[in-house]
């Protein structure tokens, strides 16, 4: 398969849709709802019989199309997938590592453009997720809320007047809503401002974390901002509070970029073009280095320093250079050292492809 084709099939259609203005900083938006059914124990306490009954019941109920634009959801059962196929779904953020590794009778139902994913028998019976490119909290919330109403019409949710939607983990009870926005914040990291902003964001019940990398690392300067509290606030307030913070972060990132340009333009250009050169020429590339170089190049594109490369390259290559995808592309299992070679090659080819298409 050509790289062109591979990318086409690998990248979710929702990611390729045109996004809006702020999308130089907000990469994607995700809305997640946790729901459970009455009369079934939560997956953690479910017998095989109960888990398989629930899977059968829910997947059947959700097999009718929601509406014409979305069409039928496709059911994928974890038992039918190879470890690498599961890994690829995790790398695309379509399923959680928990569903892939630990679920019993776990499954996911996906819309054709992969913007809707409904996990069954994850930590909760139903985890409904809507993914949008760019900054689209409202769109995401409207769609997920509509889907939630639709499902509610077919099953009986576990709901309590005082506690709201009941979930297996106390951190999700109430609305069951986790709204999150993925942001690229290289200038706030470079100017060391982010560390002092994060506690202020935590103060209002929002969490900031890196999505690639482990522990406190945020590879590629990509951060996820999401609500921590699910109980006591309405869905609208949760979304509005998150939106307010994201808008402030966008402004702060923009002004940090401007001040970098005006105070240390040549150093910034040097950093960006060095990274570009490395990505375009390296023969071995570790994932950590790839992420940080890609972040530089993306910044260069946003600041109009690098021309002729699509801004999507960051989100796209962050996903494509994960172990699962690399192995899928190579069509065989790869050792970490072999992956670093394959990764360097894939990135070079991808950059080359951009030039050809010009």
């Amino acid at each position: 398969m050509s790289l062109d084709q591979f990318i086409n099939e690998a990248i979710s259609p929702w990611m390729k849709k045109n996004c809006k203005e702020e999308d130089d900083i907000v990469l994607s938006t995700r809305i997640r709802l946790a729901r459970n059914l009455e009369n079934f124990p939560f997956p953690i306490a479910a017998s095989d019989h109960s888990a398989s009954t629930l899977l059968h019941y829910v997947s059947k109920v959700l097999s009718e199309p929601y509406d014409e634009s979305i069409g039928k959801l496709e059911l994928i059962q974890m038992n039918d997938l190879s470890p690498n196929e599961k890994r690829v779904l995790v790398e695309k953020h379509l399923i959680s590592p928990h569903l892939a590794e630990e679920s019993n009778y776990g499954a996911v139902m996906l819309s054709q453009d992969e913007s809707i994913s409904i996990m069954i028998n994850e930590e909760d019976h139903i985890r409904l997720q809507c993914l949008f490119c760019g900054f689209q909290l409202n769109e995401g919330f409207v769609l997920s809320n509509g889907l939630d109403d639709w499902i509610e019409g077919k099953v009986t949710y576990a709901f309590d007047e005082k506690r709201g939607y009941l979930t297996s983990c106390p951190t999700n009870v109430g609305t069951g809503l986790r709204a999150s926005v993925m942001m690229h914040l290289p200038a706030l990291v470079l100017t060391k401002q982010l560390n002092s902003i994060i506690p202020a964001i935590n103060q209002i019940g929002l969490v900031v974390r890196g999505i690639y990398g482990e522990g406190s690392e945020a590879l590629g300067n990509i951060f996820q901002i999401s609500n921590q509290m699910t109980l006591g606030k309405s869905e609208q307030d949760i979304i509005e509070d998150l939106r307010g913070v994201v808008i402030q972060l966008i402004q702060q990132e923009r002004s940090a970029r401007q001040s970098l340009l005006s105070h240390s333009r040549i150093q910034l250009e040097d950093k960006i073009f060095r990274s570009y050169g490395l990505l375009a020429n390296s023969r071995i590339m570790e994932s950590k280095e790839a992420a940080n170089r890609l972040s530089d190049v993306r910044l260069g594109i946003d600041l109009d320093l690098i021309h002729g490369i699509s801004g999507n390259i960051l989100n796209e290559l962050m996903i494509l250079t994960q172990p699962g995808f690399l192995q899928q592309y190579a069509k065989k299992a790869l050792t970490p050292a072999e992956r670093d070679i394959e990764r360097a090659k894939l990135i070079r080819d991808r950059l080359h492809l951009e030039k050809e298409n010009k």
């Binding site: 079934f40 306490a45 309590d160 983990c169 609305t175």
Partner: protein
Amino acid sequence: MICEECQKNEATLHFTKIINGQKKEMHLCDECARDKGEHLPGSTGYSIHELLSGLLHGDHPFDQQSSHPSSSSRRKPLVCPECGLSYQQFIDKGRFGCVHCYESFSLKLDPIFRRVHGGNVRHHGKVPKRTGGKMQMKRQIQQLRNQMEMHVEKEEFEEAAKIRDQIRELEMKMENKEGGE
């Protein structure tokens, strides 16, 4: 605007905090926000779940093995009759086993929810339609009662009477609904 905490620096962070349905406007400077943030759960910015198990473990003095053998043998462990999960297992795993665990452990849950959800113990969001009609009416009646009391305090009896009529009407509707269901 000046930071309400130190009354000194310019406030850079403006937000509304909701604690048990009460809205509070907050205006803080970066420094004070940072100071306050450090005492809150989640201020390290990382996994909620890791944080949770820490929180849960810090909050069960009654379930610690008692040093008095007589009292520990008398005390029955708290167990959910529906799924068999004990309170201790819930604390260890950080997960409920079923819907009924919420009732079974209800006396112990408020402090946990308060810590995890910024002081909140009550749901204020979406309500499934099947229960929606009735619950929304209940909330509406409560709001009207509050308004009525306000008018009475201000001796605006005409207004208060109008609201009282509205409340009666809603209560009648609710009774009909209950009968019909």
